[in-house]
Symmetry: C2
Subunit: 153 residues, 2 copies
DNA sequence: GACAAGTTATTGCATAAGCAACTATACTAG
DNA sequence: CTAGTATAGTTGCTTATGCAATAACTTGTC
């Protein structure tokens, strides 16, 4: 089953399709989760991602550039994102004794509480979208494959 | 192997990790491809996505809302994206005889040529990132799993 | 110890994207 | 036919993001 190809170039290539599918799937899932988080928690997806990364980090804190890397944002974008989280009281900046250029971003108790609420929404969302559509084995397989794709370029 | 969990909520949940991995992988791949496309072609990833969808569509055209859906953008965002593509001459708007509310977005010869150039970059990129990291079987599996995730909510 | 080069975070600026309000057109029921 | 409702696309406005330039600091080398 091949679509009509008005041009010569292999736009129907298997890898091209796979990549397009990855983009589309991710965009749909992220959009929907974002809407639900926003509606139920006033918590944008980006905030949720930061809070989650911080909780998973030892001592609930990461350096600025580690946050940027973890959520795959630019350095400048992360600075402003953390600004907003800090204004909301969910996160705080702390100086780093060893390296005075660096600043830690640490989750606050309020951030922790917010993350709990957001996680409840997220888990419900995941149950509906991952739980029902993929089996445990399939999720594991998917995880393995994504990890292979995620290795440093 | 479990990370320290300062809080009670299951942030280490298997599905949560999988979702985070999906976001991260997608973001990394998209960012890198975007940079390469921009550098080699002056073609933002979003433009590439639109052009690709148009080429794959019958007669090289889609209605506005089909474009929006295909690339998972809002309606308003798609309008402006198509504006920019039209200004660049890669796409043109055409009226729809049956429904005077609708407008077609059609790829132009210039758009087709641009897409060819971008596809060359993309294929090279894919070879490096998909080709070397996943086998054909693995890519097929990934494709199947993503399709399951991509079904309408 | 001083200078060069690298690293960390922040800022100015430009752009892209979403939402909500609006216009124009199509469809449905009576 | 008309009224009401739904749909397609555009626009105003706000916000989020990236890039490039900058400032503060560290590291390595001589």
């Amino acid at each position: 089953m091949v679509t009509i190809q008005p041009s010569s170039c292999p736009s129907g290539d298997e890898k091209v399709q796979l990549f397009a599918l990855l983009l589309e799937t991710n965009a749909r899932l992220a959009r929907q989760l974002g809407l639900e988080l926003e509606a139920a928690c006033e918590t944008p997806l980006a905030w949720f991602e930061v809070l989650l990364q911080l909780r998973q980090a030892p001592e609930g804190r990461l350096k600025m550039n580690q946050v940027a890397d973890a959520i795959v944002h630019s350095s400048g974008g992360t600075t402003r994102l953390v600004d907003r989280l800090e204004i909301a009281g969910l996160v705080e900046r702390r100086s780093c004794p060893n390296d005075r250029r660096a600043t830690y971003v640490a989750i606050t108790p309020e951030g922790d509480a917010r993350l709990d609420r957001a996680l409840a929404v997220h888990l419900d969302y995941l149950e509906r979208h991952l739980g029902t559509r993929l089996s445990g084995d399939e999720r594991e397989t998917l995880s393995t494959l994504l990890e292979k794709l995620n290795t440093a370029s």
